[in-house]
């Protein structure tokens, strides 16, 4: 039954090639988490209104470049954001999106 197939999550291989990819995935996940936290914090600071126009522009550019860099890194190993999202069980998923 197709439905029951999905109940079995993907079995991850343990050969040398995928070890590298999985390690990379872990590292990228942490970077992505930090990136999302930074973005959320930046938006909060902008809302508070105590930043100069230059600071806002600088923040935005930096975050934009960070996002582009993440896309490039993910592309290297053919990973999507969904691939990076680690499920912590009762704590929910690590990334918010």
């Amino acid at each position: 039954m197709a439905e029951e197939r999905r109940l079995f999550p993907q079995r991850l291989e343990t050969d040398a090639e995928s070890v590298e990819r999985d390690l990379f995935k872990l590292v990228l996940t942490i970077i992505e988490l930090v990136r999302q936290l930074m973005e959320a914090q930046a938006l909060r600071r902008v809302d508070e209104g105590d930043l100069t126009d230059e600071q806002v522009e600088g923040l935005g550019l930096g975050l934009m470049h960070l996002e582009e860099a993440m896309e490039e890194l993910k592309g290297r190993y053919d990973l999507t954001t969904a691939d990076l999202n680690i499920d912590l069980g009762p704590l929910g998923t690590l990334l918010s999106e």
């Binding site: 439905e3 999550p9 993907q10 070890v19 872990l26 499920d87 069980g89």
Partner: protein, 95 residues
């Protein structure tokens, strides 16, 4: 967009293909098609706390406590009150 998916409405509600009800002449019990419950729904109901998928990374890194190592489906609790076969003996021959 199709808003309602009706599945396995069963013989009580004619919302799907009509299922043959079985041979009434020979049987004393009418066989009804069993509505199918998905495995997830069934396990949620049969187990105290259902099925939980644990985390997702195969790599074991020394000192990394952030993520689980193995991918497996994990039942979140083995109920402590699952009938202990020895209890019946201690309970004596009440009955």
């Amino acid at each position: 967009m199709a808003a309602v998916l009706l599945r396995d409405a069963g013989p009580a509600v004619s919302a799907g293909p009509v299922q043959p009800v079985g041979d009434r002449t020979g049987e004393s019990v009418v066989q009804r098609p069993q509505p199918q419950i998905s495995l997830v729904d069934l396990l949620d109901r049969l187990l105290g706390s259902g099925v939980v998928l644990a985390g997702d990374v195969v790599i074991s890194l020394a000192g990394v406590d952030l993520v689980q190592v193995k991918l497996h489906a994990m039942i979140s609790s083995v109920r402590a009150d699952m009938a202990d076969p020895r209890q019946a003996v201690r309970g004596g021959s009440g009955g």
